[in-house]
């Protein structure tokens, strides 16, 4: 069985500066796969490459065996990839639940005619979509915000909301970019619980995170980046004991 995500010799340069250089790895379906590394190691750039927001300078990414070189982010979403952002991307001009309902975009049949005349079929779809979105918000733990304007919500709630939106698309793989950043201890614990639940449902999770405790606790495998290059790759146990990793983290 081939890997769900396969990255080979990936390169991304911004005006001569290599943010990601010669990175290769593979993520099997069902894993929780984390990318760690010091600030500026190229983690977010890597996510932007995988999710199609940046085009690689060199190298190849395969999703389910298919090359993603020519695919736009929305086409990747159609193929089951969804993500959250380090700097949250919430539509502040909508309510919380609308943000999650947006996540179900691909699951809804939208037809201009039935939309304009607001035909019963559309209403039914909308009802069930809303219901599903409400469940998801409950699932991630921001169920009390349903019709709150997104702009009026707290940071932590928005972080969870973004995950709910990504889940609403029922992705095969979800990319979480620093979901724990800015969260306090209790919130982080809840997040860990949430990620576990997501993984238990069979969704592959890719994670960029700084919180070592969290990462080591839930990851099946880890990728360590440093200055855009792969420093190490393996199961948490191997990473923990890798001298290069220790050196990099301790400022060696």
């Amino acid at each position: 069985m081939s890997a769900l995500i396969e990255v080979k010799g990936l390169d991304k340069a911004f005006g001569g500066v290599h943010a990601v250089e010669g990175v290769s790895f593979a993520v099997e379906a069902g894993q929780v796969y984390s990318v760690i590394g010091p600030n500026g190691a190229g983690k977010t750039t890597l996510f932007n490459l995988i999710s199609g927001i940046y085009t690689p300078t060199k190298g190849e990414i395969r999703l389910n065996g298919e090359s993603t070189a020519k695919l736009e982010p929305n086409q990747l979403a159609e193929r089951g990839m969804c993500r959250t952002f380090q700097q949250m991307q919430i539509c502040m001009n909508m309510t919380a639940i609308e943000n999650v309902m947006l996540g179900r975009h691909l699951k809804l049949k939208s037809n201009l005619f039935s939309t304009l005349f607001r035909l019963p079929a559309l209403l039914r779809d909308e009802q069930s979509c809303r219901q599903r979105a409400a469940e998801l918000m409950e699932f991630v733990g921001c169920g009390e915000y349903l019709d709150t304007e997104a702009s009026a919500m707290s940071y932590g709630a928005l972080k969870r909301l973004e995950i709910a939106r990504a889940l609403a698309a029922e992705p095969k793989v979800i990319l979480l970019d620093e979901p724990a950043a800015g969260l306090n201890g209790t919130e982080t614990a809840a997040l860990e619980e949430l990620i576990r639940k997501i993984a238990d449902q069979g969704t592959t999770v890719m994670l960029v995170e700084h919180d070592m405790k969290l990462v080591m606790g839930i990851s099946d495998r880890l990728l360590v980046l440093n200055y855009g290059r792969v420093l190490a790759e393996g199961i948490p146990e191997e990473i923990r004991n890798n001298p290069d990793v220790i050196a990099a983290y301790l400022g060696g």
């Binding site: 999710s51 927001i53 736009e72 982010p73 929305n74 990747l76 979403a77 159609e78 990839m81 969804c82 993500r83 952002f85 991307q89 919430i90 539509c91 502040m92 001009n93 909508m94 309510t95 639940i97 609308e98 309902m101 947006l102 996540g103 975009h105 691909l106 809804l108 939208s110 201009l112 939309t115 304009l116 005349f117 607001r118 559309l122 779809d125 909308e126 009802q127 979509c129 809303r130 019709d147 973004e162 939106r165 990504a166 609403a168 698309a169």
Partner: protein
């Protein structure tokens, strides 16, 4: 379970209908009906433009071009080629939609001021063509347009009609017609906003990248809303031409594009009721200021500037915020 939009949609639509049908009690002469009719038509145009600007967050400084195309297409087909109004309006709308789609695809990739520039250029090119092709459009001096006929039934500001036993003159009949058109335009706009398509559109404004990663093909949604708002403009342009009975290239001019976008921003971007208010205010202002003669321009500029400085969110949203703050205060005081 009733969501925010459903509530406000019903409330807004009923509220608007009450205002529209109660208004005649305050209109004392045909000139008032004349103005009110124009306001309704322009308001419907702006409701369409608001879908693009207010909800999808894409600026257009050339929308009068589409309004003008609709006006001239309808005027030319009915006037010179003997078409009936309804097919002229509809075919015009389809053509304008196609044109908008063709130009929209490439220019909607642009962002911010570059998009304003490109839409401005498109509007200018349309206006220049209308101005120059005198054989077809009558050139800068304009052309007369026959009155509206709806499947053989003629609606003219100069006619007289009876409705449920009420005697109406042409201006009153036109007003009622335009009011209905506005209601339908608002209804469509609201249905669109509160739907999967509408969410996709709004997400383009809220966070384009978020929209893309959940599978929204933002490029085609931007095109879609551009086309829809162009069709609104085209249809309303056609109606405007039939109502006025005479059009000049001013209906397609840059100045008018600016007026349209100003109505949206002044009234409140993203608020359907707000932009209608914006249209009413901007249409009324020149009439009110007419008595100030030389001071008219200065005052218009000053009012526009001050309103936008002190109410950057637009008239209606600012008023609504003030009211809800007040009510909260009251509630808080009692608690």
């Amino acid at each position: 379970m009733v969501n925010r939009f459903m509530q406000s949609r019903l409330r807004d639509l009923v509220f608007l209908a009450i205002i529209l049908f109660a208004l005649p009690a305050f209109l004392s002469n045909p000139f008032h009906y004349d103005l009110a009719t124009q306001m309704a038509i322009i308001a419907a145009t702006v409701v369409g433009l608001n879908l693009l600007v207010g909800f999808a967050g894409q600026i257009s400084l050339g929308h009068a071009g589409f309004f003008g195309l609709g006006a001239y297409f309808s005027g030319i087909m009915t006037g010179s080629y003997g078409w009936s109004s309804i097919p002229a309006l509809l075919v015009g709308a389809v053509l304008v939609g196609i044109i908008a789609w063709i130009v929209g695809r490439p220019i909607l990739r642009l962002k911010g001021h570059y998009l304003s520039m490109a839409t401005l250029a498109v509007g200018f090119i349309i206006a220049i063509i209308i101005n120059n092709e005198t054989w077809l459009t009558g050139g800068p001096d304009g052309m007369p347009v026959p009155s509206l006929d709806i499947f053989g039934w003629e609606l003219s500001p100069f006619g007289s009609y009876s409705l449920f036993g009420m005697e109406l003159d042409g201006n009153q009949a036109w007003y009622l017609f335009a009011a209905l058109v506005l209601l339908v335009a608002v209804w469509f706009a609201q249905n669109l906003i509160d739907s999967p398509i509408g969410r996709a559109l709004r997400s383009v404004h809220g966070s384009e990248v978020a929209a893309r990663v959940v599978g929204v093909n933002t490029a085609s949604y931007k095109s879609l809303v551009f086309v829809i708002s162009a069709i609104y403009a085209s249809l309303m342009g056609g109606l405007y031409a039939h109502f006025q009975g005479f059009i000049t290239p001013a209906v397609a001019a840059f100045d008018f594009s600016i007026v349209l976008i100003t109505m949206v921003v002044l009234g409140g971007m993203g608020s359907t009721m707000g932009v209608i208010l914006g249209a009413v205010v901007l249409k009324l202002l020149p009439q009110v200021l007419a008595d100030f003669q030389e001071l008219e321009t200065v005052m218009f500029g000053l009012i526009l500037m001050l309103t936008m400085i002190f109410m950057p969110k637009g008239l209606l949203p600012t008023i609504q915020m003030a009211v809800s703050k007040r009510m909260k205060k009251k509630a808080g005081g009692q608690a």
